[in-house]
């Protein structure tokens, strides 16, 4: 069937309102509720589309077709569901108003899954959350109850702000912008900037929150030399830094993190038994 061909006009003139988009936004937050290995977030996406489908398609056959469309496999980073949702809502609205977009809808969903997942995973999951959580955890380890609160505040303002605004954004701007999103300068700038901030914070975390200490002492005649003090004289927190660098090198060699986890327990056992390390 040719795209854009005017096919059915019986329910032309159904306009979606801001309220409909908001209702889809609230429902989109249940994105992972029915996640499964067969079709991932498909049912979750349909759940978000339900009020839209209900309004756009009064008759049972059309509803059935729309439900089937949105029960096809779908999976992306949860944050990025919303701009896609906005785009798809716009397409369903066109479809209901006589411009046939049925085939294109799934193409768009599948086409946007990959690039958006990459952005969401690296920007939100991989950079913003660790920075906020690292800040909060560092404060908490100093005994401040404000740590967890700060983390929740920073995250939720940015995260919900993005998810709420990106539904109408996707609805207005649609496919072209999202398809270009990965190439576009804005996203690149954002992730570059976030990485700069993240790496500086990470430098502090490595210095402050890895604890590897040696109780080894040497007796040189009358004086007692503490190995830890000698190391701190060279570079403070030298052993944490070395452990970190070694683990980065091993991860770069594509060694499975679970093996490294077991490795850490083995090294800790050996070095604590020979009394080279102590808590």
């Amino acid at each position: 069937m040719e795209q854009g061909e005017v096919k059915h006009t019986e329910n032309a003139g159904i306009k979606l309102t801001k309220k409909d988009l908001t209702s889809a936004f609230w429902r989109s937050l249940f994105d992972m509720s029915s996640i499964n290995y067969e079709r991932f977030q498909a049912l979750g996406f349909l759940f978000a589309m339900t009020p839209i489908i209900k309004k756009l398609y009064p008759n049972r056959e059309q509803r059935s077709a729309a439900m089937k469309r949105h029960l096809l496999m779908f999976n992306t980073n949860p944050v990025m569901i919303n701009p896609i949702l906005g785009t798809v809502i716009a397409m369903e609205e066109q479809n209901a108003n006589g411009v046939d977009t049925t085939d294109a809808i799934n193409d768009v969903k599948v086409g946007l899954m990959g690039p958006t997942a990459g952005i969401g995973d690296s920007l939100f999951w991989g950079t913003l959350r660790p920075i906020f959580a690292g800040l909060g955890a560092a404060l908490a380890l100093q005994g401040s109850y404000f740590g967890p609160v700060l983390f929740l505040l920073l995250w939720n303002v940015i995260y919900f702000g993005f998810r709420y605004l990106s539904v109408p954004y996707g609805y207005r701007v649609g496919i072209t912008m999202l398809r270009e999103a990965k190439k576009s300068n804005l996203v690149q700038k954002l992730s570059q900037g976030a990485s700069v901030l993240g790496l500086m914070v990470l430098g502090v975390l490595v210095a402050d929150w890895i604890s590897i200490k040696t109780p080894v002492v040497f007796n040189a005649g009358q004086t007692v030399i503490k190995l830890q003090a000698v190391l701190d004289g060279i570079v403070p927190n030298l052993m944490p830094l070395l452990a970190f660098v070694a683990l980065v090198a091993l991860l770069r060699k594509r060694i499975n993190p679970n093996k490294l986890l077991v490795g850490i327990f083995v090294v800790a056992l050996l070095l604590s038994l020979v009394k080279f390390l102590a808590a």
Partner: protein
């Protein structure tokens, strides 16, 4: 103990629900779970410490694509509950959370598998055009994840609190030392994973700046974060300046 077990299970289940029921507010992160569980069991300081320590380990562990990462939510809930109820050394409790997180991850994979069944029921409703009915399937799938948080935490406290307390408190010193040393090292792995994710060699200088500020000058993390924002702004404007100069430049 039944009442306490019910409360701990309920809190664990509700927090576990964050990803699968109420929208990724991050109350399922160890940092938050630790404090909440500590408040519920009336030892917030201990909960805060254990939660924040576990958070450091799992900072770099994220879900990428269709992979399920180790689930530290119910693991933190159980570690904090056992540490408070059985009076276990908080540092040992942190190390205990690691295997628990692996078990929780396996449970999650199990639910991802059985939830596939929902799809076939949904297909049937779609065939009939019964729009409202698919909502119920969504809620059912969601509830499974509540159970995934509730059941292990409930059982751990009901059956385990006394026994684990005896076991851990009767451990020889070398084992507790081992766990404490391992617990101190573990964040290194979380940080290394984070570095792999965010870093490339071009950005290495920023890591060095952060490390030096903290290690040599004992700089406060919040202060460095502000410097980081400034550095990010400079970096971005340098990037745009280059963009406008050289039309031949391809992506950075």
């Amino acid at each position: 103990m039944l009442g306490t077990a019910l409360i701990v299970g309920l809190v664990a289940g509700l927090l576990e629900w964050d990803i699968y029921g109420w929208g990724h507010t991050q109350v399922n992160r160890p940092l938050v779970v630790g404090l909440v569980m500590g408040l519920v069991l009336k030892d917030p300081a201990k909960g805060l410490f254990i939660g924040a320590s576990i958070e450091m380990i799992y900072l770099g562990v994220i879900a990428v694509g269709a992979a399920i990462p180790a689930d530290a939510t119910s693991a933190t809930a159980i570690a904090v509950a056992l540490a408070i109820l059985s009076n276990i050394d908080p540092k040992v409790a942190v190390a205990l959370a690691i295997p628990l997180a692996v078990v929780a991850q396996l449970l999650q994979m199990f639910i991802w598998t059985i939830n596939s069944g929902l799809m076939h029921r949904a297909d049937k409703y779609a065939e009939e055009g019964d729009l409202g009915k698919t909502d119920g399937l969504q809620y059912l799938g969601s509830f499974m994840f509540f159970l995934q948080g509730f059941v292990p935490a409930f059982l751990a406290v009901l059956l385990g609190a006394a026994a684990v307390g005896r076991l851990v408190n009767g451990m020889p010193a070398w084992i507790t030392n081992w766990f404490k040393v391992a617990g101190g090292m573990l964040p290194a792995l979380g940080f290394a994973m984070l570095y792999i994710m965010m870093g490339n060699n071009k950005l290495l200088p920023y890591f060095i700046i952060g490390f030096v500020l903290a290690a040599f000058f004992s700089a406060n993390l919040v202060a460095v974060a502000f410097l980081g924002v400034a550095a990010a702004m400079i970096g971005v404007s340098v990037m745009s300046a280059k963009k406008t100069q050289g039309p031949a430049e391809k992506g950075v």
